[in-house]
Amino acid sequence: MDEQKNVLEIKNLKKQFGDREILKGIDFSVNKGDVVCIIGPSGSGKSTLIRCINFLETPTSGEVCYKGENVLKQYKDLALYRTKVGMVFQQFNLFNNMTVLENCVVGQVKVLKKDHEAARQTAMKYLYHVGMADYINAKPNQLSGGQKQRVAIARAMALEPEVLLLDEPTSALDSEMVGEVLTVMRELANAGLTMIVVTHEMAFAREVASKVIFIDQGVIAEEATPEIIFKNPSNPRTKEFLCRFTQNN
């Protein structure tokens, strides 16, 4: 029963770039419906970790298990796995040559081999949900940052993934646009979507996360519920990091 609930499991994941070891053995697991927030100082390996989970970076060693199966062994073609684990980037990375609608349709048609009409309907459903249904004919460079990121979320959701990875989704946005993206993320979390979010939005982490992971210098320094992390962290480094945050804000 527990095995069923476990969606992702990261086992002793290491990543080296040349001689530099960025991730020094990361272990954690994600259950269905969890919202895992990964926090930590810049350069601690948060982004590398989330990119290793969908193999945009190939881990040097260790395993990523999806529903109990080692992804690299089980999925000869990573494409199928990647449709199950969606990704939202800090820089949005919408396809600049396509309209908003085409951005959300192309993956379904090319990868999931859906017919165009079914793909359009699914795309519209999620675009409507993120509040971008009116903008289907716009090109990405005609949109604001917040709008782009909402489309990017709709694009990832249109493949109907089991897990959504978000790599600092609000860090490239003006502060007035952060809210609209966080609202969408909050709604997805409420709907029961499993998410892993790398974020500097501590308020969001505190409110939405079911688990917060604090990463420092390539290792998990602390992993606990938001109540413990934010009110009573056991690791002095966590306390120091969060102190800097409350001072800044």
Partner: protein, 265 residues
Amino acid sequence: MTTMPTTFSEWVFFLLQQYGVLFVKGAMVTLLLALVGTFIGCLIGFIVGIIQTIPVDPNMGAVKKNFYRVVRWLLDAYVEVFRGTPMIVQAMVVYYGSMSLFNIDMSAMFAGFLVVSINTGAYMAETVRGGINSIDPGQTEAATAIGMNHLQTMRSVILPQALRNIMPQIGNNLIINIKDTSVLNVISVTELYFSSKSAAGVYYKYFEVFFITCTIYFIMTFTVSRLLRWVEGRMAGPRDYQLVAYDPMQDPCGHFQIPTRKEQD
């Protein structure tokens, strides 16, 4: 017998009357060689560019890795050899070489198409590589993250954007080809320069004939250059967009409501 022309303008007019058809035929051959050569050259360039940007996964098998390495080396060799030798020499080597080495008796015209295409291909390969590299790596990452493979990513995302960036260079190549197909006269392709030489020889009126030739070349290149500008403008697409009032009740997929966590449990 009509009286022979005396002034420059009379000669030009006279030569146009006498050899107008020859000039037009020559110009058509030149245009055809340049257009077909540039088109096939672009195709070669895109194929080479796509192959050269296949990502090499460190976990890939040794056989596959070495295969890619060999293919890449061959393509590099092709680019270097055909960029590094003059087209006039390539024409001679291909035309006469095919005959003496392989006993293939190709027509001068076919040899012409071949030489212009592979020569342009070598230049375009580098241009396309540059065009692909100019696209933000985030585009490739996003395509990879939704499960698209290299070919799908190239076709739907990268190449349409790269094509827009390299349009000026494709235009350059086309214009260069219109002019440089003149070297094919060494293997007797009856393009504009070859026709002009024939016409000039009759009355020994080199300046008058090549003045006409010059004008025709310029008209062709200038027209092509303007046409390509127009195409570039079209490719940029409309600068504004229309909002679409979306009514989910009208949509066949119906009204969509996200279930709350409570309802699910």
